[in-house]
């Protein structure tokens, strides 16, 4: 009985991980194994880097109380338009242009954040306006045209691969070794943490469950890196994504400021009466979203090798979807960065798998929509006893 409850709890906690595994297996079978070809694994990262980046920022907005940012797609495009104009039309140094793009993103975020946090205009309205304004401005900046090509030194930062130091034929040993190194570091820190807690007499999870989780994560990481090694190695985009995820994962789970986002979303009044400046938290959520939208803008410009006025269309929906699939609450206050990673990966896998299978574009949208609503329904229903709310 006790064990049954435990298994159920674990299943509930890791449902989306399980769903992800099942979806991957289904696609692998249906595509005759094409899904897991090294190049496709690589594409999963390259094509979806923007989702990971935007969803991370979106999570913090959603945490503050289910507030979404509808403008990110347009901001991605706008930042790209500014960057493209600077680099191509004006010939500004790409690195300087990147700084400019970040500054533009931050200014956009700060402006929207100011209205939302200090003037208390509903986020939905502010960012809906932002969505229109920045889409329009992108067109104006680009005069409705596509600017290309983007200088090589810029593309290199996002589109190329980490060089191999060993030069083995057909297998990027560096990539594989990095995978093993990451696993070793992960295992070491987990075990050290476990021992430290044990020594100090803190409560610890059972060693069995820790090891099981460790084995699973390491297996996934090594498999993933092995696939990448068979292709061209570590794509630079993966490094961007990994660094951003690592930073924000740490902020959300370990720092006081991260805690404030959860507190504000859970009960803003109580948070304010605990001596926390809640306006600032809202402001930071949107400021940060602007900055991350700028980063996503760079990734997008690099991937398209152009700045064009339709880039970033409906990116906001991908980001919002990833957050909700990843278990963020639509009312705020709950959600984790690892959850969002799973959500974003699931979205990516669906995109990729259906593209390989040649599923019609329109049907793809239907499937994604159903997955999104199913995930949220599951999340909401699993938290209570009955399916239909009793009146």
């Amino acid at each position: 009985m006790e064990n049954k409850v435990k298994v159920y709890e674990v299943l509930k906690k890791y449902t989306m991980v399980l769903v992800l595994f099942i979806v991957v297996i289904l696609f692998t079978v249906n595509t005759g194994g094409k899904m897991l070809l090294p190049q496709n694994v690589n594409n999963l990262i390259a094509q979806n880097a923007y989702v990971f980046i935007l969803a991370t920022g979106m999570l913090f907005c959603i945490l503050t109380g289910g507030n979404i940012d509808l403008s990110v797609g347009s901001v991605v495009c706008f930042v790209g338009a500014i960057g493209g104009t600077l680099m191509i039309t004006m010939g500004v140094n790409p690195y300087l242009s990147m700084v400019a793009m970040l500054v533009v993103g931050a200014l956009v975020g700060a402006m929207q954040g100011f209205w939302i946090a200090y003037v208390r205009i509903p986020p939905f309205i502010v960012t809906l306006a932002g969505m229109l304004v920045f889409r329009g401005l992108s067109n104006t900046v680009l005069k409705g045209m596509t600017l290309s090509p983007i200088p090589d030194s810029f593309l290199r930062l996002f589109n190329t691969y980490v060089p191999d130091f060993f030069g083995m034929e057909g297998f990027n040993l560096t990539c594989f070794l990095v995978g093993i190194l990451v696993c070793l570091i992960y295992v070491a820190t987990t075990l050290m943490g476990y021992r430290r807690k044990k020594q100090k007499g803190y409560r610890v999870d059972s060693l069995k469950s820790i090891v099981a989780k460790m084995v699973l994560i390491c297996a996934v990481v090594i498999f993933f890196m092995f696939k990448l090694a068979q292709y061209k190695g570590i794509p630079n985009a993966l490094i961007w994504v990994a660094v951003i995820i690592a930073i924000y994962s740490y902020i959300s789970s370990k720092t006081t400021i991260g805690r404030y986002f959860y507190a504000v979303g859970g009960n803003e009044k109580a948070t304010r009466l605990s001596g926390i400046d809640t306006n600032k938290i809202f402001f930071l959520a949107y400021l940060n979203m602007g900055i991350l939208a700028a980063v996503a803008g760079m990734v997008t410009v690099a991937r398209l090798n152009s700045a064009n006025p339709t880039a970033g269309n409906s990116y906001e929906m991908d980001a919002i979807g990833a957050c909700f699939i990843g278990g963020a609450s639509a009312y705020g206050g709950t959600g984790t960065v690892p959850g969002v990673i799973v959500g974003a990966t699931l979205m990516g896998v669906l995109n990729l798998g259906m593209s390989i299978m040649g599923v019609d574009q329109n049907l793809q949208k239907v499937v994604k929509g159903i997955v999104l609503v199913a995930a949220v329904i599951f999340d909401v229903v699993s938290k209570r006893k009955s399916f239909i709310v009793k009146q």
């Binding site: 803190y202 006081t256 001596g275 609450s329």
Partner: protein, 512 residues
């Protein structure tokens, strides 16, 4: 013997993991006021939910016999059809609708496609007159006070042709005057033949109106007291509720107060944040010494909470003026952070709305106001956080499996303890406790009083804002009385009585 209107026989109701009701029996006679008492979680509300069909037939065992027939209610409208109407503790009125619209919500007059508004307003006015409400039926709910809203709820029940009225904590949010009016209304209805069941924590009110009292404890019926045959006193009821004699409802403490003022307020004025010409706190002065408990009492809307919050880093009101001294030093607290820094804590009256983050675990709630203490350079030491929260769990005897538990799953008393833990962890010297025992049961109240005594024994000062006069009288060293934003009296513990307090409130009313 009068006719039995309702009989609930051997009702047993289980929720996953808990037996909420265990063979409960309840007999209500026609035309009586029957009180249902018990600690929180004793099963009173569950029993009434079974009766009204919120827990449908089949989800419990046992029989409900109403007007000599066995009833099988599947939803609330089934029981309402029979004239059983329940008025819940949380008022269920829509603020931007008129009184009449609210009264006939879900029960509209006229046809489905065309509501007969003329008839609605006419009928509503009639019922409002019965409950003694002078407001016209087209007044918006948001424009009338809580006391009147409660009367609207009763009028709404009458409009449903209620024969058996169930009131769940009807006076919980009312002041003494409104409560009294409500109880008298119940007595008036009784004289007209209405049967009522009243659930309440306020034993003096029960002793006043009830003909019979059924006591529940841990999901079982303990006993039914009859006004005619048993002697009904508060102590007698408490004994039944807690299963032991509470000799002292308020724990004793040695005299700890010193003559040194910990906090003093002089000529404090606060204006309403929306209607800035309205003075909410009017030229108030008071002080609290080290190791002293002062009580601030008064009616609802006297400005007590507003006073407390305006002191606590100006979290309420505008154009605040006056002098605030902490430990003899003049200070200006512009933000809550300043207040915490000056070792002031405010434990809110509204623990769900303003105090706790319900969706977060106990541990994060405990550390929220002083996260610096469990973090280094903004990085939280989660193990330390757990230990701290666990220490307070033990210290305050909070009943929960672990401090990882979300606060929303705790009972009111335990939530209050978490809220207290949160502010105790902020290491204040002066604690403002706003209604520290509202809505929690007798046992938990006693524990909270003990915590208060421990705090003053450590030399801390307590400002207790409370609407429950016995509590103020039992716990305070000194009592301030507030009315309409002004301090209208100050009494020492040994000279204060309920009568004297009420007298100074009434006298000040006349003075206006």
């Amino acid at each position: 013997m009068a006719k039995i209107l309702l009989e609930m026989k051997n009702i047993t109701k289980t929720f996953p993991g808990v037996k909420a009701l265990d063979n409960v029996n309840l007999e209500v006679e026609q035309g009586e006021i029957h009180a249902l008492v018990g600690e929180n979680g004793a099963g009173k509300s569950t029993l009434m939910n079974v009766l009204s069909g919120i827990h449908p037939y089949g989800s419990y065992t046992g029989d409900i016999i109403y007007e000599d027939e066995i009833c099988k209610f599947n939803k609330i409208s089934d029981s309402e059809e029979k004239g059983i109407v329940i008025i819940h503790q949380e008022l269920a009125l829509v603020p931007y609708m008129t009184i009449a619209e609210n009264m006939y919500l879900g029960n509209e007059l006229g046809s489905k496609m065309s509501i007969d508004w003329d008839e609605t307003y006419k009928a509503a006015d009639g019922y409002l007159k019965t409950v003694g409400l002078k407001e016209p039926a087209d007044t918006l709910i948001k424009d009338i006070g809580v006391g009147k809203q409660q009367l609207v709820e009763i009028a709404k029940a009458l409009a449903k042709k209620a024969k058996l009225l169930i009131l769940d904590e009807p006076t919980a949010s009312l002041n003494e005057d409104d409560s009294q009016a409500l109880l008298d209304l119940l007595l008036k209805f009784k004289a007209e033949g209405m049967t009522s069941i009243i659930i309440s924590h306020k034993l003096n009110e029960i002793a006043y109106v009830a003909d019979k009292i059924t006591i529940l404890r841990d999901g079982s019926t303990i006993e039914t007291l009859d006004k005619n045959t048993d002697e009904i006193t508060e102590d007698r009821i408490i004994k039944g509720m807690v299963g032991r004699e509470l000799v002292d409802r308020f724990p004793k403490r040695p005299h700890t107060k010193s003559q040194e003022a910990a906090l003093s307020v002089e000529n404090w004025n606060v204006y309403h944040p929306l209607y800035s010409e309205r003075k909410v706190v009017d030229n108030v002065s008071f002080h609290v010494n080290k190791g002293e408990v002062i009580g601030i009492c008064g009616l609802m809307g006297a400005g007590r909470t507003e006073l407390a919050m305006s002191i606590f880093g100006k979290s309420y009101g505008v154009n605040i003026s006056g002098t605030l001294k902490i430990q003899g030093e003049k200070v200006k607290l512009n933000h809550v952070k300043d207040a915490i820094k000056h070792k002031l804590a405010y434990v809110t009256e509204d623990r769900k709305g303003n105090g706790l983050i319900l969706s977060n675990p106990i541990k994060t709630n405990t550390t929220l106001a002083k996260m610096e203490a469990v973090s280094k350079r903004m990085i939280i030491d989660k193990d330390k956080e757990y230990l701290v929260a666990d220490e307070y769990r033990k210290k305050l005897n909070t009943k929960c499996p672990t401090v990882n538990q979300n606060v929303e799953n705790l009972s009111g008393g335990n939530q209050q303890k978490v809220l207290l833990a949160k502010w105790m962890f902020a290491e204040p010297e002066i604690l403002i406790l706003d209604e520290p025992t509202r809505g929690i049961d007798v046992g938990a109240k006693y524990e909270i009083y003990c915590i208060i005594n421990e705090l003053v024994a450590e030399g801390k000062s307590i400002i207790m804002v409370s609407s429950e006069l016995p509590e103020v009288l039992g716990m305070s060293d000194r009592i301030y009385i507030m009315n309409e934003g002004r301090m209208v009296g100050e009494l020492s513990a040994h000279e204060a009585t309920q009568e004297k307090i009420m007298a100074s409130i009434l006298k000040s009313d006349k003075g206006v």
